[in-house]
């Protein structure tokens, strides 16, 4: 167990270093941050002086080593774009992204499972066909189009919901929450649907096929033979067994909900970390971009580590497999 853990952590560190390296070297091609930071009157000497102050006149390996060294001390540098420490900015923006991701995950779970079960039980119903067709749209339409479509319908035409921003937020011990005000909750609706729609259709399709599979198994037949109610069979036996892969999937997808909220956040001017990243790319804000990518990588690595460890504890087969493989 300990050896497994150590091996996993070593791998995680390696992944982080590689991501950091790739991110850092990639940004050298994004452009020159100095050209964005100084006005058009700046002379060559002014630009050279700014590059020197930013430390980007040094050779690449030196810059990277300094970045890693500082990052290990928890110092991710200062944003070129807004002149504030990168960590402060990320901490300020993270609540917005996490709240949105949480809502989107809940939305995807509740509606995905509901619709999945319904379409599995009423395979030939008109509503099921409609839901299956709609789910195709959800899978195939790009996120920004869904977002703009929702804005057009619910903000411009119907005037029901706000088209941008987070509304009024309440500061709860440093965590700025939009859950506590009416405008905050209203602002959540459209981005939640936009971000969660893809995951929802995915879950719906997964639940449906799993459910159809399970309904054919022997134990369901036995349950019917025992004369149990449909309700008990469907929800007590079938759905429970269907949910295992759904939970696994959702665990992994939660990471991508946070990491790929970028597009939704841009469309809705949602002040989260994804939006911060996009703004940073435009301004060639290297410390900000590198830190964001490292943070996202860390998030994925931790989620995967937790999932692996959980499997290891839960699934005895995994342990024996390893034991035999080793010997």
């Amino acid at each position: 167990m300990i050896a497994f853990l150590i091996r996993r952590i070593a791998q995680a560190v390696l992944v982080m270093l590689v991501v950091g390296f790739v991110a850092f070297s990639m940004f050298r091609f994004v452009g020159d941050p100095v050209s964005i930071m100084v006005g058009q009157e700046a002379t060559a000497a002014d630009r050279a002086a700014m590059a020197e102050r930013l430390g980007i006149d040094r050779p690449f390996p030196v810059q990277f080593a300094r970045f890693v060294g500082n990052a290990l001390n928890g110092d991710f540098g200062i944003s070129y774009r807004v002149g504030r420490p990168v960590m402060d900015l990320i901490q300020e923006r993270l609540p917005a992204t996490l709240e949105l991701a949480l809502c989107a995950a809940m939305f995807a779970l509740v509606f995905g499972i509901g619709a999945g079960v319904y379409t599995a039980l009423h395979r030939d119903g008109a509503l099921s066909h409609a839901a299956m067709t709609l789910s195709l749209i959800g899978v195939s339409l790009p996120t920004f189009l869904i977002g703009i479509g929702l804005i057009f319908l619910f903000s411009v035409e119907l005037n029901w919901l706000p088209s941008f921003g987070r509304g009024q937020v309440v500061d709860v011990g440093g965590w700025k929450s939009g859950f506590l005000t009416q405008s905050g909750l209203r602002s959540l609706v459209l981005p939640t649907i936009t971000l969660g729609l893809f995951q929802m259709t995915l879950i719906m399709r997964l639940v449906r096929s799993e459910m159809l599979e399970v309904l054919r198994t022997d134990y369901i037949k036995f349950a019917r033979a025992r004369g149990l109610h449909d309700r008990a069979i469907h929800y007590g036996h079938a759905l429970k067994n269907t949910l295992i892969p759904v939970i696994t999937l959702m665990g992994i997808r939660l990471g991508s909900l946070v990491a790929f909220a970028i597009i939704t956040e841009t469309v809705f001017q949602w002040p989260g970390v994804g939006f911060l990243f996009v703004a940073s790319v435009q301004a060639v804000d290297v410390p900000m971009m590198a830190s964001y990518l490292v943070l996202v990588a860390a998030f994925f690595v931790v989620v995967n580590l937790v999932v692996d460890l959980a499997y290891y504890r839960v699934d005895p087969r995994l342990r024996t497999d390893h034991a035999t493989a080793r010997s």
């Binding site: 452009g31 009157e41 807004v82 002149g83 420490p85 001017q269 703004a279």
Partner: protein, 524 residues
């Protein structure tokens, strides 16, 4: 004391009520937020947009872009041609209650001249600033500088005492890796004071109750809510749905939609910015073409042929949705030195252009790479695509390389491109600014954006003389002469001047200012 309390409460309530009865909020959106509120940290119009509501310069350009008094009431060149004298406005208070005096002006100018300030380029001619009395300052320039005031319109005045107390005597230094207090906190003399600042989210400003201009300006708006909205579609949707009062950066394709919506209007105006193509005419051989051993762009006939092959009217109607004014010079009409003759647009004539190409020895044309930004000017990449098509008609096979401005501009500055697109705004409203940066050969602070590689000693000297010439007649003659040379040589191919579109509720009918700056205090 206890007796008075309820009465005071009631009075306060009444005052609140009276204020809120006529309170008017102005919800204003742009594509990008100001990056910092430190007035001297960045020379960018986006930052100045917010800062102009909070801070004030000595003089500024009003909604008609005329220079008008702000914190200085009058200014003039003294008997010593190298010295300007400014009389300051009396009884002006900063938002924190401190009085505005000559010491603050000296402090602010020196701060803006400092090593970490991005505005120092505007003050290179200023040698020192001295105090005559509390309300009079003198600026000494290196040689006469008749245009000094033109450079001061975005140079904001800070409170010396406040800056010292908060350790922001210098503009942000990135070497320190620390946040500067002035990035998110302000103390200006302006009509609006900062209430909350959430970068990229919302900046709220409220009317300054002690503003010196009360009674002189409408000051109808009591609260400004400034929200950046990056996605153009969302920005327009928010205006259409009534969540905004004013959108400053309107995409050209939405102008019709918004102006046809009841309750909304779009005001159009010419921006003080020219869009053009640059050509490497100076080098003997160039890197980005397929001709060996010589430079086709070095031949004036080729440059003229290229100029004639481009149909500017077609670019206007097809690419710009009508939102551009075709031009024949890099000096926009708003700028001193502009004349109708200069702006004469080369006639679009493919046959004549082909004939010129043949004369120059390129009957079958040649191949060249056009470097183009794709995120800086209105439809920049599409303009370049149109140019590719036009030049193809005279056999010039253009390979288009579009990239973000952050990659594009350093290559122009380092002479790494041969054929490129650029836009140039003229904040001083004087042709000298165009000539000095785009036509003067590279030398010190001049020629920084001139990648034409052409060095003409005579013209360089003439351009240099413009900064110190106090005889305005003579100066105008020099400007005309240099601009004429520039047009004849065709080192650049002018395309058009950009127009600006501001979308707003009918209630706020604001005239478009050609520097793209809005002064909320003028809204009535």
């Amino acid at each position: 004391m206890r007796k008075i309390a309820p009465l005071a409460g009631a009075t306060a309530l009444a005052i609140c009520f009276a204020v809120s009865a006529q309170a008017e909020t102005f919800r204003w959106a742009r594509g990008q937020d100001a990056t910092t509120l430190d007035p001297h940290a960045q020379n960018s119009g986006q930052n100045f947009g917010v800062l102009h509501q909070i801070y004030e310069p000595l003089v500024h350009r009003d909604q008609e872009s005329k220079i008008v008094p702000a914190l200085a009431t009058s200014w003039s060149i003294t008997s010593d041609k190298n010295v300007w004298e400014f009389k300051l406005r009396p009884n002006v208070k900063f938002h924190n209650g401190n009085a505005f005096t000559a010491d603050d002006v000296i402090f602010s100018i020196n701060r803006a001249k400092g090593e970490t300030s991005d505005l120092r380029g505007l003050l290179t001619s200023v040698v020192n600033v001295t105090k005559v009395d509390d309300l009079t300052v003198r600026m000494t320039t290196e040689g006469p500088n008749p245009l000094l005031v033109n450079n001061l319109t975005n140079l904001f005045m800070m409170d010396k005492e406040w800056a010292e107390a908060n350790n922001v005597v210098k503009a942000q230094d990135f070497k320190n890796k620390e946040e500067n207090f002035a990035v998110r906190n302000t103390n200006g003399t302006g009509p609006y004071a900062l209430v909350t600042r959430e970068a990229d989210v919302r900046t709220v400003m409220r009317a300054n109750p002690n503003y010196w201009g009360k009674g002189q300006f409408p000051l109808k708006v009591t609260e400004i809510v400034y929200t950046p909205i990056t996605a153009a579609g969302t920005r327009i949707a928010a205006l259409l749905s009534g969540e905004l009062d004013f959108v400053q950066d309107m995409p050209v394709q939405d102008i019709t939609r918004v102006s046809q919506t009841s309750g909304l209007r779009v005001n159009l105006g010419l921006e003080n910015r020219s869009i053009f193509l640059g050509l490497n005419a100076g080098d003997a051989d160039i890197k980005w073409d397929d001709v060996q051993g010589k430079n086709p762009l070095g031949d004036k006939r080729v440059r003229k042929a290229m100029e004639m092959a481009i149909n500017r009217e077609a670019i206007k109607t097809v690419v710009m949705a009508g939102q551009s004014i075709p031009s024949g010079t890099l000096v926009p009409p708003t700028v001193h030195g502009y004349t109708k003759d200069l702006d004469a647009i080369p006639t679009w004539d493919i046959n004549a252009a082909k004939a010129l190409m043949t004369q120059a020895g390129y009957p079958n044309g040649f191949g060249i790479t056009l470097h183009c930004p794709n995120n800086r000017y209105v439809n920049d990449e599409k303009i370049c695509q149109a140019v590719v098509g036009f030049l193809g008609q005279i056999g010039v096979k253009v390979n288009l390389a579009a990239r973000p401005m952050a990659q594009h501009s350093p290559e122009i500055q380092k002479d790494e491109v041969d054929f490129w697109l650029l836009g140039w705004g003229v904040p001083t409203y004087d042709a000298e600014y165009v000539l000095s940066f785009l036509y003067h050969s590279r030398e010190g602070s001049r020629g920084g954006w001139n990648a034409t590689r052409v060095k003409n000693k005579d013209m360089d000297d003439k351009i240099k003389s413009l900064t110190a010439e106090v005889d305005f007649k003579k100066r105008d003659a020099t400007i005309a002469e240099v601009l004429k040379w520039a047009k004849d040589e065709a080192l650049y191919i002018p395309l058009h001047n950009q127009t600006l579109a501001w979308g707003m509720k009918n209630r706020f009918n604001v005239r478009v200012q050609d520097e793209n700056q809005l002064f909320v205090k003028y809204i009535n």
